[in-house]
Structures are given as C-alpha cells and as structure tokens.
C-alpha cells in the first residue's frame, strides 16, 4: 500500500509539468486557423528551418505561439493579447533566422502598418 502510494505520488509529481506544458502548447491546426499574421517564406525545405523560425519568433515577447507549415511554406503567428509586430520587424526576424519573406497577411486590421487580408 505504501509502495503504491509512493508510486502514485511520484507519477502525479512527474506528470504535472507535462500536463501543464500540454495545456500551454497550442495545436498547430489551431495556430494556423487563428493566426494573427501569416508569413509566406522562401527557403523552407526541412524541419531545421521550421525550428529556426519557431525559436527565433518565440523569443519575442509579443509572440504567443507560432507554427511553420512546410507544405504551404507559411509561418503562422499568434500574438499575445493587444500586441503585434509590424511587417518590418517580422521581415527582420525571418532574415535573422536565415530565410526570406514573400508576403505578410493579417487576420484583422492591426495597429501596425501591415497589409490587411
């Protein structure tokens, strides 16, 4: 009984961060559907490319989530509430990750000087 309790406790303690992380992480399909900005990209040929873009954008404090789709060659960006990046900054971050932008489209009218969808 004591062993069972210990094992149960250990399982709960170890699984807690995983469950918490799972709640924080949005599914790629949700990010793509609800994206505030979609960025068309050149040079996107492998998963290392998508990791480079995801990690570069997630370091920015305005970004809540990102997803790179190799099939559509698009980066979907979900911003934190009330925040956004202008086209120039997005282009600069894409360049920093090692790629280039073909176009940027927005879901809604933003406070920045970006194009509207």
């Amino acid at each position: 009984m004591r062993l069972t309790s210990l094992m149960l406790t250990a399982t709960l303690v170890l699984s807690a961060p995983i469950a918490s992380h799972a709640q924080d992480k949005l599914e790629p399909a949700i990010i793509m559907q609800t994206a505030d900005a979609k960025v068309g990209l050149n040079g996107l040929v492998c998963d290392f490319c998508s990791i480079a873009l995801n990690k570069t954008f997630k370091k920015n404090e305005t970004v809540a989530a990102t997803h790179v789709d190799l099939d559509t060659k698009e980066l979907s960006i979900l911003f934190k509430e009330g925040q956004a990046l202008d086209d120039e900054t997005i282009t600069e971050l894409v360049k920093k990750a090692g790629y280039s932008v073909t176009e940027i489209s927005r879901k809604t009218v933003s406070k920045t000087n970006s194009k509207e969808e």
């Binding site: 040079g43 990791i51 370091k59």
Partner: protein, 221 residues
Amino acid sequence: MSNVSLKFFGALSLCFSAASFAEARPVSYPDAWTLMIKNDADQNSLHAHYTLDTKHSIGLKLRYDRDRDFIFTGLQANRLLKRWNERESQANLYGRVALGVVKDEKPSSVALKSDEALMIGISGDWETRRYFVSATAEHWDNGRFDEYSSYHGRLGIAPYVANTGALHTWIMVEGHHRPESRRNENKLGATALLRFFKGPSLLEVGVDDQGEPLMNYIHRF
C-alpha cells in the same frame, strides 16, 4: 587523451554518429547550440558549436583520425558565405577553419607526442524537399602526422515528402576521394546511406563499398 577516453569517445561516436550533411550545415540560427557527431571510415568526430549570428558559429572539434591513429582537439569556426533562398529550394555555401593540437594515440607510444594542426574546408549544398545535392572539400595539415585531404559529394532523394514534425526519410549516395588514404588503395569510394530526420534530430546510417559503417547524428538545441 588516454586510451580509455579514446574508447569512450569512439563508443560515443558509434552510439550517435554523423556526415557531410553535418559539415554542410555548420551554422544554425542565432543563440542555438548544435551537436554534430560523425563516424565513418575516415574518422570519429564531434563538433559542438554555438551560432553567434546568422552567418557565424564557433565550437569545439574533436576528431580521431582512423587512418593515422591520432586525435585532434581544437576550435572550429564556421561561416555561411552565401545563402540562396528560393520558393522551392535552398542553397548554401560555407567556409570553415579549425585550429588545435594533434596527439599520437598509438597504444605502443611511450610518451604522447603532440603538434599543432590546421584544417580549412569549404562546402556547398542545394536542396528541395525532394532532392538533395552537396559537395565538401577539406584539407588538414596535421603537423608531423602529415597532410590529409578529403572530397565528398552527395546525391539524395526523399521517397515521400513529409510535413513539419513528421519523420522525413532520405535515400542517399555519397562519393568520396581521399588522395592520402592509407586504408583504401584506390582512394575513391562510395557510401549508400539512409537519413532519418525528425524535429531537431537527424540520424544517418550507411555502409561504404569497403564494408565500413557510417553513422551520423545531429541535434539542434
């Protein structure tokens, strides 16, 4: 480096191993760490590097030369000379230089003898999601262990095109020319290999025309 550490390094390389993809993509994205382990007929090597900016990375290089039985320990700097980003493809040209010390690892050596060593290399690649081509040239000046050059070229095809996060598989063939090789009399050879690529990890397994295994591993952090 002692024989024990040599065996440990060899075992580590065999467990994880790497190849010319590792050499062809030596610069990642800014602030990223990358581990590249390569294991083939020539060498067991490890290159752990930090990417400073879009064009430069620097890191530790350890290389056990299987042909001449010595170990190189030093620093390697890599530079992305040029990248071409197109809608369906990407091409890169890289240069690199390593500077360090070579030490004799022969078990019979009474005293380990060391010398300075320098490597310069250049590599290029072009790839789409279906096709892959790369070429690499390296020259090592290993002090009293002589000079050594190697030239590699690769062709690859993906039997299916996978999307983000899925398992990517490549079938590849590598041709190599090692003019100063003592192990292979004809100096020319070929390796058939499979590349498995998922998320931040890349694993390559193959065998050359002399029956020597190839195992390469790359992980980006």
